[in-house]
Amino acid sequence: MIHSLFLINAAGDIFLEKHWKSVVSRSVCDYFFEAQERASEAENVLPVIPTPHHYLLSVYRHKIFFVAVIQSEVPPLFVIEFLHRVVDTFQDYFGVCSEVMIKDNVVVVYEVLEEMLDNGFPLATESNILKELIKPPTILRTVVNTITGSTNVGDQLPTGQLSVVPWRRTGVKYTNNEAYFDVIEEIDAIIDKSGSTITAEIQGVIDACVKLTGMPDLTLSFMNPRLLDDVSFHPCVRFKRWESERILSFIPPDGNFRLLSYHVSAQNLVAIPVYVKHNISFRDSSSLGRFEITVGPKQTMGKTVEGVIVTSQMPKGVLNMTLTPSQGTHVFDPVTKLLSWDVGKINPQKLPSLKGSMSLQAGTSKPDENPTINLQFKIQQLAISGLKVNRLDMYGEKYKPFKGIKYMTKAGKFQVRT
């Protein structure tokens, strides 16, 4: 399936290549560079590019293109999903996935890639199994290895791959047994000029960090499972049990993993926690425009809205902006025309605002459209959909684990049209 992989940085250098079948010359990437040139922006490079003898499927993450070379028909999502899994694995291994990090750890990277595919077909993609095969580098281990001459390669062969629960390694031991669950919800919304909602939906995930000894069997139940409209599970979750009882029952992988992603349907009314008042105007004749925005809380269930960042892509005609914020800091980049205002917390008594003027290029006509405002924010201890975890129980092991559940609401793709 996957023939070769090339890693290409922003400057267009191929800094790593790996072949799982016979070697494909790196000149095949020239087709990719051509497409890259045509696309002007990195994110506009088409993920699937046909060449005379091969097909190039790529993903773009962390400013690196991961380009897979394919020779024959294959479901494109298969390759794309796999490439993303590769990036996730690198991130898991090295903390960050960057060119420098990959170059520094090239041997580990190579060993990991070798295990992930056999003849182009995925072999071991579960991070738990990979980590047993090839231990991730840590500072301590690097020091120890240099002194003792021992290696990163696990000398014990992984058993997880052969067991009924391939996602969990065997013989896990902790002195403190803990299980943390983060319920994180993101609001995607488009708000129109007048402040009414055009579309809004909630996408949620439950990320878990489970450090439990042995083979614990967990069940997690919700107060209001009916809210969840569409769900997708980590493979460890027993589907039948969910179908019949709406309970999550699973033997967790060790460490961090995403237990569940869900969708709260647009049919339910979505509470919009913030509003933006805006007054942006360009005048045809003058070279000055007015700019004024105010952000305020709306339906926050009494919680504070924090980490607010307002960004907006200004039209090309805007030369500069002279603005005064009532709080926080703002930056306008005259080259990319990107305005960014780091607001911080919203104090309902004193609403943050940003006012001032824009200087426009003389002679050009006023832009057709006012800029769209993108909003980021966070609300701690609140799941905006109202989802609540009822209880978490553990079977199969004797000890009492420490359990914790945290809620958070964030802005996803939250746009205000002006």
């Binding site: 699937v48 494109p76 298969f78 999903e81 796999f82 060993e111 069997d217 997708s232 027993r238 793709k413």
Partner: protein, 971 residues
């Protein structure tokens, strides 16, 4: 060594990039001394590799792998590296493997040195070492070792460890690409591995099947049901491959579930009555093959997978295989994927675009999910727009147009232009809004941005063509625009419009020609062609005013640089200017030029894509990719469904074959002896894969078991004992794995041959977990023809079932030869009761009322659990839920083996391992409601025992108790 080698790599790098820039510096370097230098560099690595210290070797290997990763040549180190293939240090070994796989092809002779190491490792007691040896050995692309590889694969394919067998499946593809002549032998291995029951192997072997012999669909028949049932437990990548393969398979084996609808569409013109009649007929005859249903049912939960590729695979399966009404279950999951990365979004949106053309209703409820955000990349924006346009209808068009208005103003002009096209398409498709759209587009003509104006012109041109009647004003307006617009397509469009409708704007048209004649030489080719066109049309309608102008333009065209223009000029001149040479054609010039032209259809660019299977690379590219396998059309008549009956079909066939031949004794003997052997073997191994291993052996057994089965059936008294192994994904994790099932060969009479006019039918309970549905008990019905003529069309009719009960009938048997017999499966949901299911068994001529009453023991499915879990469950089912009785036990029945045998024969129970000698435990669940049924036999003294049954279903519990009571007391 470390200090010495440190500065060298940098030096080497400089030389390479600065001077040589070649990927093979050693060989291609222009001057001798550079290669000398490289020689010394690699010499250094060589020395390190030959050192006695592992740390030096490891260091060298790491640097070499670094070189490979950067794409630098390290092939000359081959001899030094290959020596370390047998290193004790596992990391060195692994890195040597990496090196070998990369360079073995180039250094074939030297690579052979390493082979013996792998051959030795193939015999290692550790399964993971065996697997990795096979993996590397098969990755060495050296033709000489093909026979060795073949041997290794064959051996590995019968390895006890499923992990090794998985690697064998991978090796098949590698060998095939190395030497396609091995195909036949490899197919044998594939056939063998396809029978494997391990979830580890399934995905990999199907992958090999797809690569080596995708046309051998016959290899799938016997494994079809197993693959469907295993699917949920296969790893995600394997799932994708299996689902795609099964999609193709199903399209060749089942009849179309869409027939009903198509039928009524085709007969649109027939009278209503006829129509009804035919519909009735179609509805009567179509019932979905249970295997078809099985596939749909077992793939559905995978829509919840976290893996986008799996979700897409299931979606395409539903699109291509499910009845139209069911396909819509996938839309929600596809929309969910839109939250994912841009690459995933891109592919998913493309597929939704294709689906939404045919099936608006699937995505209409999710309309708002396709609204465009200003931060989306352009390719995502245009795809969303495409889908929005496809979904437009009378009800939502006003909302959509409002949304489109925002898009038109977008700063991304490419996207704004695409939106204008979209508006144009909506305008033609939905007549109510045509005028609104046209007005909106005309407003855009005064937009400042040229791209927007140009696109509007092009779209307006198309719209006007569909209804030119009263739009003279717009044409005039556009003629004025010609002075300012520079985009060639737009200019060409305006000129064409004026030419086409020159009679509506008689004053303006000649003036436009005058202006453009002036600028002719500076125009784009596209525009020049349209100027010529305009000239020709005016010459024909208004030659008085335009004759000279046209001739002037034609003269300019005659000497143009472009071939096309010159050709067109010559052509037009001959056609419109009458002279002696021009033939009869010029008489018709007006008809030719000013013919009524059909309006262009504004269609989705995704229109033609649906002939590619969704979710494939070919679909994404809209052109056939190498190795694309066409999805066949549904067959008119379904091929014989019994090919998938693993045991029954085989036995039935053979039964007719060996009828009367004295072959009965031999297989029986063989069966018993092998079964014992098997037991010993599985007891002997205690690795983690124990069950799976035994399964493989069992598999060989199965055939002979079932061969025996017929003889036994005939004799009608011996108990057949087989071991069906399956995994029930039960709600509680502790309650699954394998189980031993003993199937009573006892057959019951359904229809006696005397009362059935020669048609006889027997049935028995096969104790297979529902192939028809989770709640169905499967019953095997054997129909025999004892007459001397053919019996045709045997089917089931007039089911009289108590409320709640359901029955899945067999598909009609077309014809049964005299003395022939055939076995078919029926699924009945008895709702956990012993009520009678009555129905009629009909032939072409007669109907016979028959009925099936299940013994309570057949309403169960065995489950396996540990003793601990059993006790825990039992603890929860006390009081009301417990029934018990003291029973007498015949002395010969007091041993463990006999008790198990007798009970398991009487009821479909799973054996629970027991720590105490005098207590025997069995567990099962009811088929319909899946409630646990726990049976305990506790021996008290030599001739009595206590029989306890714990279950929520107290009624069944007490019936079961009554039935089990006499079992142990009888000799």
């Amino acid at each position: 060594t470390l200090q010495r080698c440190l500065p060298l790599p940098t030096l080497r790098g400089e030389w390479q990039s600065g001077l040589v820039g070649s990927r093979c510096p050693g060989k291609v370097s222009p001057t001798g001394w550079i290669s000398v230098l490289h020689f010394t560099v690699n010499e250094d690595l060589k020395q390190m590799l030959e050192s006695s210290k592992d740390s030096a070797k490891l260091d060298a290997m790491k640097r070499i792998v670094g070189m490979i990763a950067k794409g630098k040549n390290a092939s000359e180190l081959f001899p030094a590296v290959v020596k370390n293939v047998a290193s004790k240090n596992i990391e060195i070994k692994k890195l040597v493997y990496v090196y070998l796989m990369r360079y073995a092809e180039e250094q074939q002779d030297l690579a052979l040195l390493s082979i013996s190491t792998f051959q030795r490792a193939l015999k290692d007691p550790n399964q993971l070492i065996r697997a990795s040896a096979l993996r590397v050995l098969s990755s060495i692309r050296v033709p000489i070792i093909v026979p060795i590889m073949m041997l290794a694969i064959k051996e590995a394919s019968s390895d006890l460890s499923p992990y090794v067998r998985k690697n064998a499946a991978h090796a098949i593809q590698k060998l095939y690409s190395l030497d396609p002549e091995q195909k036949e032998m490899l197919i044998e291995v594939i056939e063998k591995l396809l029978r494997d029951r391990s979830t580890l192997v399934a995905g990999s072997v199907v992958m090999a099947f797809e690569e080596v012999c995708p046309d051998r669909i016959d290899l799938i028949h016997k494994n079809y049901r197993k693959l469907c049932n295993l699917l949920i437990d296969v790893e995600e990548w394997g799932q994708v491959v299996i689902i795609h393969m099964l999609t193709r398979y199903a399209r060749t084996q089942f009849v179309s579930p869409w027939k009903v609808k198509e039928y009524s569409e085709n007969n649109f013109y027939e009278s209503d009555e006829e129509q009804k009649e035919k519909d009735q007929k179609v509805k009567d005859t179509y019932s979905m093959d249970p295997d078809h249903r099985l596939l749909l049912r077992n793939t559905k939960p995978l829509l919840q997978s976290r893996n986008a590729a799996v979700v897409m695979a299931v979606s395409q399966l539903y699109w291509h295989l499910a009845p139209k009404s069911e396909a819509s279950v996938v839309s929600k999951s596809l929309v969910r994927l839109l939250r994912s990365n841009r690459e995933v979004q891109y592919i998913v949106l493309q597929n939704i675009a294709t689906m939404s053309i045919q099936r608006k209703d699937m995505f209409e409820p999710h309309l708002k999910s396709f609204y465009v955000r200003s931060t989306d990349p352009t390719m995502i924006k245009t795809l969303k727009l495409e889908i929005l346009t496809n979904l437009a209808n009378e009800a939502n068009i006003s909302t959509l147009l409002r949304e489109f208005q925002t898009y038109v103003k977008s700063q991304d002009k490419q996207f704004a232009a695409a939106t204008i096209q979209a508006i144009g398409r909506c305008a033609t498709n939905i007549t109510e809004v045509t005028d609104t759209c046209l007005n909106g587009l005309v407003c855009l003509l005064s937009n400042r941005d040229e791209i927007v104006v140009a696109e509007s012109v092009v779209v307006i041109k198309k719209l006007l063509q569909t209804q030119p009647a009263h739009h003279g004003e717009i044409i005039k307006h556009m003629a004025k625009l010609l002075d300012n617009i520079t985009v060639p397509v737009a200019r060409a469009s305006i000129l064409w419009l004026i030419g086409e409708y020159c009679e509506r704007v008689p004053k303006i048209a000649p003036d436009v020609l005058r202006k453009t004649a002036k600028s002719f030489t500076d125009e784009d080719d596209l525009v020049k062609l349209q100027i010529l066109n305009l000239g020709a049309k005016l010459y024909l309608t208004n030659s008085k005013q335009t004759k000279l102008l046209t001739q002037y333009v034609l003269n300019l065209g005659k000497y143009d640089q472009s071939y096309d223009i010159r050709d067109r000029t010559r052509f037009i001149r001959q056609l419109i200017v009458p002279n002696e040479k021009s033939g009869a054609l010029s008489k018709y010039a007006k008809k030719i030029f000013l013919a009524q032209k059909p309006a262009p259809l504004l269609e989705s660019p995704f229109k033609g894509r649906d002939h590619f299977q969704l979710g494939t690379l070919s679909h994404t590219l809209n052109s056939q990719a190498t190795g694309y396998l066409e999805l066949s059309d549904w067959p008119e008549v379904a091929p014989d469904p019994s090919v998938r009956n693993v045991e029954i079909a085989e036995s039935a066939k053979e039964w007719t074959g060996i009828l009367g031949k004295p072959k009965k004794e031999k297989p029986t003997e063989k069966f018993y002896s092998e079964s014992e052997e098997e037991e010993d073997e599985s007891a002997g191994t205690n690795s983690s894969g124990r069950y799976l291993e035994s399964i493989l052996h069992l598999h060989c057994l199965e055939n002979c078991i079932f061969r025996t089965d017929l003889c036994l059936n005939k004799i009608e008294k011996v108990t057949k004992k087989s071991r069906a192994v399956y995994k029930i994904r039960k709600s509680e994790a502790k309650v699954y794995v394998t189980t031993q099932v003993s199937v009573p060969a006892k057959t019951h009479e359904l229809l006696h041959r005397m009362s059935g006019k020669g048609l006889a039918a027997h049935y028995h309970f096969s104790r297979q977990p529902g192939i028809f549905g989770d709640h169905m008990v499967s019953v095997q019905v054997t129909v025999t023809n004892t007459t001397d003529h053919k019996i045709e069309n045997i089917h089931i009719k007039e089911k009289k079932l108590p409320p709640g009960m359901r029955m899945h009938e067999f598909s009609p048997i077309e014809c049964l030869e005299p003395a022939g017999s055939i076995t078919v499966s029926v699924g009945i949901d008895f709702c956990d009761s012993t009520q009678i299911a009555s129905f009629q068994l009909c032939t072409k001529d007669d109907c016979f009322s028959v009925s099936i009453q299940p013994p309570v023991g057949e309403l169960l499915l065995p489950v396996t659990m540990s003793e601990k879990d059993f006790k825990k469950e039992q603890g929860m089912l006390t009081g009301m839920n417990e029934t018990s009785a003291m029973i007498a036990v015949a002395p010969q029945n007091s041993t463990r083996l006999v008790i198990i045998e007798k009970l398991v024969k009487a009821a479909n129970l799973g054996v629970v391992p027991s720590g105490q000698d005098n207590i025997h435990r069995f567990a099962a669940k009811t088929v319909h409601s899946e409630s646990l049924m726990l049976v305990t036999v506790e021996l008290k003294g030599s001739s009595t025992a206590q029989l306890i049954i714990n279950t929520e279903k107290t009624v069944i519990g007490s019936v079961l108790l009554r039935e089990l009571k006499p079992v142990l007391s009888q000799g």
